[in-house]
Symmetry: C2
Subunit: 208 residues, 2 copies
C-alpha cells in the first residue's frame, strides 16, 4: 500500500467555549476555579504541571521513570458533557472537574477526548494550544474522586487508601475515552472564563 | 456517534535506521551531512531551525505572520525511499536530502511521511523525538532543487528566479505526501550515523 492509496479525511473546524478555568496551585494536581489563566511556554503559570520539562512516569513505559523529558502534558482540557457522562456511568451525582485536575472545561466540542493529536485550539484572545492527545484515566485521579465523596476504601495504617477503593477503579474504567486531552502552549497569553475558541483539525488518515 | 462507536486501531511498533544525518549550518535551510547530531530541547544545536520558539509563517494561516510561537518544527525527517520516489516522479536523476533541508534520512519505515502525529521515535542511544506531523512540500524547497540542478528559470533583474521555475512547481506537486515529517525533541542527547530506532504509534481513529 502506498500513501496515495490511503483514505484522507479533509481538515475540519469546530467552535467551542471555555466554561470553567482552573489552576492546581497546591502540591497536587487537584485544581480550583479561577477567573483567568496566564500561559507561557511552560503551561499555566502557577500550576502543578507547569514546566518546559517534566519527569517521565508510568505514561511513558518506553522510558525509565524519572528521566527529564519535554513537557507536552501541560494543560488538562475536559468536556462538560463528558464529565456528566462519566458521573452517570460511575453512578455518582457529580464529578467536579477540579478533582481530576482540569484546567479548562469546554462545551460544544463533541467527543472532545477523541480530538486527534496536532489539532490547534485558537482562543479568541490570541492564546493557542496544541493538542498532544487523549489523556487516559488512571486511579490517581480516581482516588481524588473517592476522597472528595468519602467513598468506602480499604484501611491502611488506620487511613483510608482511596487509590484502592472501588471508586478509583470505577473511574479508570468508566472514564475510558471520556477523560479529555492534554495540550501544550503554542502561543502565550491569557484566557478568560467564557472565552470562545475554534479548533482546527488537520488532515486525518489511518496508518496501518 | 459517540466515542465508543469509533473504530480504534491499536498501537503499533516499527523499527528503522538513521542512514544520514545533516545540519543546516548556514543562513538557509539547506543542510550538509555530518557524523552526529547534538540535540537539546530547541532541536539540533547549530541548525537553522533550532529554537524553543520560532516565527509564524505561511504554514499557520490561522496566525498573522511573524508572531512568536512554540517551535514544533525543529527537525526534518525524510525517508530514503520516498526521496527516490520524488526524484522519479519529477524525472530527475537524484534529489540530495540536503537540498530540501533534511536533518535525518531514515530507512525501513514504510510511508514515513504518513506516520501519525504524536508518534514517538526512540533512538537506541537514548534520544527521543516526537512527530509533530507531515511536512507539506513548498516551492521554497523546490527552489533549492532547481538551483542545485541549474534548471531553467525565468530571469528577474538578470538573475534566475528558481522559485518560479517549473522544477519548483514540480516538486511542490510531486512530493505530495512524500516530503517527510517535522518533529521536536522529547529527550536530549546525541544521534550517530547508522543508529537504529523504534517508532511507537499510539492508538488511531478518525474524528468525523
Amino acid at each position: 500500500m502506498s500513501a496515495s492509496d490511503m483514505k484522507i479525511i479533509p481538515p475540519k473546524k469546530l467552535s467551542g467555549k471555555a466554561e470553567t478555568l482552573l489552576v492546581a496551585g497546591g502540591d497536587s494536581f487537584v485544581s480550583e476555579p479561577v477567573d483567568k489563566l496566564q500561559l507561557d511556554y511552560g503551561g499555566i503559570v502557577g500550576d502543578y504541571h507547569h514546566g518546559l520539562t517534566r519527569k517521565s512516569g508510568g505514561r511513558e513505559p518506553w522510558h525509565k521513570r524519572g528521566l527529564e523529558m519535554r513537557n507536552e502534558r501541560q494543560i488538562t482540557i475536559l468536556s462538560a458533557g463528558e464529565l456528566e457522562e462519566i458521573a452517570e456511568k460511575m453512578g455518582i451525582d457529580r464529578l467536579e472537574p477540579g478533582w481530576i485536575g482540569a484546567n479548562i472545561v469546554v462545551s460544544n466540542i463533541p467527543r472532545l477526548s477523541m480530538l486527534p493529536p496536532r489539532s490547534v485550539i485558537l482562543f479568541d484572545g490570541g492564546v493557542t494550544l496544541r493538542v498532544d492527545g487523549y489523556n487516559a484515566p488512571c486511579r490517581e485521579a480516581g482516588k481524588e474522586i473517592a476522597r472528595a465523596l468519602g467513598a468506602p476504601a480499604p484501611q491502611v495504617d488506620g487511613q483510608p487508601d482511596y487509590k484502592k477503593s472501588d471508586m478509583a477503579f470505577s473511574f479508570a474504567k468508566q472514564a475510558d475515552r471520556l477523560r479529555g486531552l492534554v495540550a501544550w502552549v503554542e502561543r502565550e497569553g491569557e484566557i478568560a472564563t467564557g472565552e470562545t475558541f475554534t479548533v482546527r483539525i488537520h488532515e486525518q488518515w489511518i496508518y496501518e
